[in-house]
Symmetry: C2
Subunit: 439 residues, 2 copies
């Protein structure tokens, strides 16, 4: 079936519910498709994006002109820009999603409950994703690809500043899908802030919300929906330099964890230093960090070793997202663990030590999605973990936790196949026992 | 360390936060224990329950006397009763939890990212569980055992009508734990409704809420907390009798699915019948269901075949939890699937058919935690699935979904161990490639 591409238009709240229901319906068809058909859909999208490239870049130019007029903040402007090179990279990204292994149809449990009564737990799409992001029109291509690969419908809401770019991209995606058996309605685009608010209310129509943007934006989404949210508001990561650390290793890891990308959520905000190593470590740290333009702030004990501004309670709770690092001297690994569990955001925390017992204690007791030993917190990333894609990093306790790849976009169902089996056979006065034999 | 048993007392909201923080702290110690130590704790609890048996049964007698005076509903009264036989069964249950495999410490991912840079994804306890239940004091023993086995602290809130029984049981549990290295504070008991409301607000201290009780009670909990809730409010399960069904099989499965335990969440509420088999099937069904005391209600098409009261829109949305069954004639499997996806609660839905293609379509398209072919919906149960325990049945889309065993009480963390590895090695102008080799 080759369906016509739906037009992209402004939706009222009740229209939006209807749109989401249509997305769910079409996603149910998508869910049935074999891997090859989904991959053909992705290739059709890539081809259409290539043939629409001029229109997309032209639309992006209009967004950029409007952004200049509106005095858009410089980092946002950079992320908004979509030139032919960046577009080609995004299209290559669509094709690389086709190469990823299909997360649907994996059998995790295959068990004979009794003769001819067989249970399977098998992965299946979640249904409909709601993805809300700021700027970055290239995210549309990546997210739509991941949604299709995982068999999900997706409702996208881009930033106001990227509306022309996003619309041109989704028109290309629809045109591509229209040449395949996949209904273009599986990918929807919203364009207004009112629609965002309405989207967050659609708990019966949308199964997962993925917000991409600033901490305050993510917190707004979390506070305004009952739909599960994949992601995190804060990334307050710590590095603890233990008494038994190699100073050289600790310096290198501290620099990488802070300097390589200070605004990343997996960059460190606070450095905890054991008092026994502080005299040897802190002066070297201060020199190297100054070379990298990092402003240090320290507690009283830190200030006895190096000349830095005072860190206050607020510093332990702040994600600077900048070249600023708070430093605190602790009297033990237990002290470091207690600080992290109190102030951390359960994202990623690392220890540098040559003492394996202390490292094991740290990794067991620190309550975070990532607990690292002798390496940089910056490895906390779906691509670096080898997932091939990352849909977000979750700091909640329940799975999925940490960097989430395609597997975060699927769930599972239990399939039970019998030949007339009834439960009364296995209960009552002389119950037949179950076999419970894994196949 | 042998700690004294904390006393059980009435908590104010701020006391409760302190109590929950203490529970989390002690749970962090519990999380470090090897399986054998946790199992020794369970055996100590079993022994203490045995030595406190008289006190527990006496406390239960007082609850029962008060219940009689308060005119407690008969089913609640039955569930409240804890005689020596039922208590012995619950104590055997504690020992059987010790036999279950430990859900903590399972390694799901073990991957070399590069030389000497090794990633592990390993299961770990969630932290602190909040379990709120009505009546059934035996639930205290089961839940406390499952919490300890999974390395979690637990805050229990029993029904007002069971307060003396629950208190006596928790005193025994504390006495048992006090003879071991496990801090008794890992198991806490709340006794007032005000505490329930306060507990639901402790999103930083409690990781998972498990409500056990009526649908309206679960819905109240879901509507009044931002903590994840494991469970379901409704169990509207369907059986679809396809055109290609064996009538004899369909009758047997319908009877078992409705009659064997009508108030169970996995009992069916609506029977969907293909129009082609309706003339052969419905009269037999009516006879057999009448023998079992089941009241049938039917749509207009059903009423042309059998003499039943009319089913209204409301019937399709109702969990009767009683010997009542709504019947609707549909013109196709697709019609049945559409009805189920519209009115169902995503719990468990079954098809009876000899047509494998139709069965596959049904199982792929019905959006439920359990999709069954030629067997009773009553198999939807953690014990019947071979999980050894059931902490709840989830009808949400995200995992854990369906019957949840001990694995629902754990999460995972990523452990990354290097020897000074920094991310800048793998980015920039000449990045070193990752190896991403599973070990």
């Amino acid at each position: 079936m080759v369906a016509a591409a739906p037009s992209i238009a402004h939706q009222s709240a009740s229209d939006l519910k209807t749109l989401a229901q249509r997305t769910r319906q079409t996603a149910r068809q998508l869910a049935l498709l074999p891997t090859e058909a989904k991959n053909r859909g992705l290739e059709a999208i890539a081809l259409a994006l290539e043939s629409h490239a001029d229109a997309i870049v032209a639309a992006n130019q209009l967004d950029l002109q409007a952004a200049l007029k509106d005095d858009l903040a410089k980092p946002l402007y950079g992320r908004l820009k979509l030139d032919p090179t960046k577009l080609a990279g995004a299209i290559a990204g669509v094709r690389s999603v086709a190469q990823l292994s299909d997360p649907v149809g994996h059998v995790h449990i295959h068990r004979q409950l009794d003769d001819n009564l067989v249970l399977k737990r098998i992965t299946c799409p979640l249904g409909v994703l709601g993805v809300i992001f700021e700027s970055r029109p290239d995210a549309v291509m990546q997210i739509a690809s991941l949604a299709i690969k995982s068999g999900n419908g997706v409702i996208l809401k881009g930033g106001r500043e990227a509306v022309r770019s996003c619309t041109a991209i989704v028109e290309a995606i629809h045109a591509g899908l229209a040449t395949t058996g996949i209904d273009p309605a599986v990918v929807q685009l919203l364009t207004t802030r009112e629609e965002t608010v309405a989207l967050l209310q659609l708990e019966d129509e949308v199964d997962l919300i993925i917000p991409r943007g600033s901490n305050s934006f993510v917190r707004f989404v979390q506070d305004n929906t009952r739909i599960p949210v994949l992601g995190h508001a804060d990334g307050i990561c710590h590095l603890y330099v233990d008494a038994a650390a190699s100073v050289e290793q600790a310096i290198a890891i501290a620099v990488d964890s802070k300097v390589s990308y200070p605004s990343a959520c997996n960059a460190i905000e606070t450095l905890l230093v054991h008092e026994a190593i502080a005299p040897a470590f802190l002066p070297d740290l201060a020199t190297v960090m100054a070379d990298h333009g990092v402003e240090l702030r320290g507690d009283i004990a830190t200030q006895t070793h190096i000349d830095v501004a005072a860190a206050t309670e607020e510093d332990w709770e702040t994600e600077y997202s900048d070249l600023i690092l708070a430093v605190k001297v602790v009297d033990s690994a237990e002290g470091a663990i207690a600080h992290i569990n109190h102030y951390g955001s359960h994202h990623t925390d690392a220890i540098v030590t040559e003492n394996d017992a202390i490292a094991r204690l740290f990794m067991a007791q620190v309550d975070a999605a990532g607990v690292y030993h002798n390496c940089s917190t910056r490895f906390a990333d779906g691509f670096r973990y080898g997932f091939g894609a990352e849909v977000g990093i979750s700091t909640q306790h329940l799975p999925p936790r940490g960097p989430v790849g395609l597997e975060g976009l699927v769930t599972y169902k239990y399939q039970l196949v019998g030949s007339g089996h009834v439960s009364s056979t296995y209960s009552g006065a002389s119950p037949k026992p179950f076999k419970h034999q894994d196949l």
